[in-house]
């Protein structure tokens, strides 16, 4: 690989990472705005940038929309003093947020998010894309466990323990639920191939049960309501990140929202046909941009769904989550897998 290519590749990577981080920041804003909308309040509408906010109509509109709020939040996270509780192990305490954040950002690399003249727009078009995503994203739990452990405090400890149990329970259902998809595509684990397979029919309609199990497991894996055991603010104060402040907390926060975006992205790729819209995209850069926009729109709809569920449903209890994971989702996912294995074999014979 010559240096020029390397630089271009690095720039691409930085661009994607920045885009995802911005998206995560604005997902936080969306969460607050949608929460406000659901609860009959306004949400953040005060922050304004000095010059942009002063533009007569547009500035006021943007301010009311809360567009500048994430900037203020990031500024606050960056410049606040990093508090060190006296009772923590500093190395692990600092390592935990990074461990939570890195896997979340790493999964972005293999996620195709558009097409350019038939070729996928992706940082690394791995043949084992989905395996990579499953492997790396499940590493994120170590950050949470370590955060709970390193805090050397009781509430974070309980949060960390809950998190590990929950992650292990739902990882199985998550993995099993998507196997039928890859059986259908003929054994390839490449995500781009999955998207191409859905040019005409989304897998959501072919395998609704797989999609449902995957979605539920996704909620559990991203620690979202109604599965937000590790945080459970009325029980564990703030769960694993109780002892964190400033940027450490910011990283945990960002990791959580990145997980949601990546999770939605994976769901879109696997079940919502990626960027497919039943219409061929025009050639050239215009088609590429269009496909990315379609993909983003689908992802954002899912993110909205995540937010909607959070502000509507109550929270499960710890043992109920375990019950749901082991006694309902896992057998269901197994039955689903067997059903589609047989169905696909029969279809192959017949056709």
């Amino acid at each position: 690989m010559d240096p020029g290519q390397l630089i271009i590749f690095l720039l691409k990577a930085v661009a994607v990472v920045l885009a995802v981080m911005t998206l995560a920041g604005y997902t936080v804003l969306a969460e607050r705005k949608v929460a406000g909308w659901i609860q009959g309040r306004t949400g953040p509408n005060r922050t304004a940038l000095p010059i942009l906010g002063a533009i007569p109509v547009v500035g006021t509109f943007l301010r009311r929309l809360g567009v500048f709020q994430p900037l203020a939040d990031v500024g606050k996270f960056l410049f606040k003093e990093e508090p060190f509780p006296g009772h923590v192990n500093k190395l692990y305490y600092l390592l935990a947020p990074a461990l939570a954040f890195i896997p979340a950002m790493t999964t972005v690399t293999v996620l195709p998010f558009g097409q350019h003249d038939g070729a996928p727009l992706v940082l690394a078009n791995l043949d084992i894309g989905i395996l990579f995503i499953l492997a790396v994203s499940s590493l994120g739990v170590y950050g949470i466990i370590l955060g709970g452990w390193a805090s050397n405090s009781k509430y974070p400890f309980l949060g960390g323990v809950r998190s590990s149990a929950q992650m292990i329970s739902y990882e199985l259902a998550l993995g099993l639920s998507i196997l039928p998809v890859f059986l259908w595509t003929g054994g390839t684990l490449n995500l781009h191939a999955v998207v191409q397979e859905q040019t005409h029919v989304w897998f959501l309609f072919v395998q609704p049960l797989s999609a449902l199990i995957f979605l539920v497991a996704l909620f559990a894996e991203t620690n979202r309501m109604p599965f937000d055991m590790p945080e459970a603010e009325t029980e564990l104060v703030a769960g694993y990140n109780t002892e964190y402040g400033a940027f450490g907390f910011g990283l945990f926060f960002l990791a959580e929202y990145t997980h949601i975006i990546i999770g939605s992205g994976v769901f879109t790729v696997l079940f919502l046909g990626g960027w497919n819209l039943w219409l061929p995209f025009p050639e050239g850069i215009f088609g590429a941009v269009l496909s990315v926009l379609v993909f983003l729109a689908k992802v954002l709809c899912l993110v909205f769904f995540f937010i909607w569920v959070r502000w509507t449903l109550p929270r499960f209890r710890y043992d109920q989550i375990m019950n749901l994971g082991w006694r309902i989702l896992l057998p269901l996912a197994l039955a689903n897998l067997i059903f589609y294995a047989i169905a696909i074999a029969v279809i192959d014979r017949v056709l």
């Binding site: 929460a35 659901i38 609860q39 009959g40 309040r41 009781k154 509430y155 309980l158 809950r162 309501m225 109604p226 937000d228 459970a232 603010e233 009325t234 029980e235 564990l236 104060v237 502000w311 509507t312 449903l313 109550p314 929270r315 499960f316 209890r317 710890y318 043992d319 109920q320």
Partner: protein, 412 residues
């Protein structure tokens, strides 16, 4: 072979026993509160955990102790009314009414029907205030944030009504011994009705959001069961007692302030679990709405104070400034307080949280000799050590939320 490595069967048994003990692991003691999102104030629970299961729980109260009972001995009856605001500060105006009724019972004083009706409206508005917050935070404790916002928005409207009526949103201090501070302002009753019209759809919405929600049902049904016998022996009162199947409601059983004039049902639960406590409160909200409607409809004309109680109720300002007798009356009342006879009296009323009782010992004059407050929250909390034993950590907020206590009243 050294001597140490020879192991007898007895040793093996002993070491297995040791090993088993180690297997059980340590128990963790954790403090929930006094500053914790689930404790609704400054309740502190010393909880011993075996994993996620509570093995022992010891509630520690008193972080909000202000010595209200002692303070009462140093001031006149009317001066103590603002202190009653701070007992159950979720529905303050009901405490005003209960205290005034207790003092009036001591003086064997009757208030005119209009005053009684105003007080009933106040009491039921306080019940709405309290139950709306109780239901909202209960929802929040199970994780449903939105219900809390809906109920809180409605509570805010009650505050505005209170502001119109009493001049203060929060600390109402509206009643006086022998009446209420002033008549209802013009148009206020209409606003109350308008508020009730807006409240009903919200109650329905909350009902739709949570009452039949599968997760909510799973969390609350069979959780924190208080048997009928336990509820009685621990002295539980109010919705918590009724949820356990005991139909005790002083508004119906020992009517005061003219409650006998209104028709309402007393909802009771069948299992005494958290879900029943939710249902009982939901139904009580509906009953309160109906009582206020009836009270507004039947609102009698007349005075809002007993004008024969010259040594107890301060005369109207217009008369004080024009008539000698009223001027002297005013002077005496302001300097020495309402003159209540000697005696002892205990009066309790059906507050939103349970039976709030005032035991007043009077040696005559304007100042109580001793005043004891029977606070429902304190008694309701006494069942916690029994109730929380064996539940999971996640059940603690749900059970606390379902008991709906307030520490201002518990600690006094």
């Amino acid at each position: 072979m050294s001597r140490e490595s020879q192991i007898s069967i007895g040793d093996v048994v002993q070491r297995t026993a040791q090993f088993e003990e180690e297997l059980h692991g340590e128990r963790m003691t954790i403090n929930i509160g006094p500053s914790h999102p689930a404790t609704h104030g400054v309740l502190r629970l010393k909880v011993e955990l075996d994993g996620e299961v509570v093995t022992r729980c010891e509630p520690v109260v008193g972080y909000l102790h202000r010595g209200d009972e002692k303070i009462a001995e140093n001031m006149t009856y009317n001066q103590f009314i603002p202190y009653t605001d701070r007992l159950d500060y979720i529905g303050p105006i009901h405490n005003n009414v209960t205290f005034s009724l207790a003092a009036e019972k001591l003086a064997s004083l009757e208030v005119p029907p209009r005053c009684q009706a105003i007080r009933v409206i106040c009491c039921e508005l306080a019940r709405l205030q309290s139950h709306l917050l109780g239901l909202g935070v209960y929802g929040m404790d199970t994780g449903a944030m939105t219900v809390f916002m809906y109920t809180f928005t409605e509570r805010e409207k009650i505050y505005s009504l209170m502001e119109m009526l009493t001049g203060a949103r929060f600390t109402t201090s509206y009643t006086r011994i022998g009446g209420v501070a002033r008549d209802v302002p013009e148009g206020w009753l209409g606003k109350v009705l308008a508020f009730l019209d807006g409240l009903e759809p919200v109650v329905e919405e909350i009902d739709q959001m949570l009452t039949r929600n599968r997760i909510f049902c799973d969390r609350t049904i069979g959780c924190g069961v208080i048997s009928r016998e336990d509820a009685i022996s621990y002295g539980l009162t109010g919705p918590n007692l009724r949820a356990s199947g005991v139909a005790l409601d002083l508004r119906r059983d020992r009517p005061y302030s003219g409650y006998e004039r209104y028709e309402f049902d007393v909802p009771i639960g069948s299992r005494g679990d958290c879900y029943d406590r939710w249902l009982v409160r939901m139904e009580e909200v509906r009953q309160s709405i109906s009582i206020i409607r009836q009270a507004v409809e039947k609102m009698p004309e007349g005075l809002w104070y007993n004008d024969e109680a010259r040594k107890i109720y301060v005369p109207p300002k217009s008369k004080v400034l024009t008539s000698m007798e009223e001027l002297i009356q005013n002077f005496m009342l302001v300097t020495e307080g309402p003159q209540l006879p000697e005696g002892e009296v205990y009066f309790e009323a059906e507050n939103p949280k349970g039976l709030l009782g005032f035991y007043i010992v009077s040696k005559g004059g304007g100042v109580p000799y001793r005043l004891k407050i029977r606070s429902p929250s304190f008694c309701n909390l006494s069942i916690l050590p029994k109730l929380l034993k064996g539940v999971m950590v996640a059940d603690i907020p749900v059970i606390l939320g379902s008991l709906d206590f307030v520490l201002g009243e518990c600690d006094r």
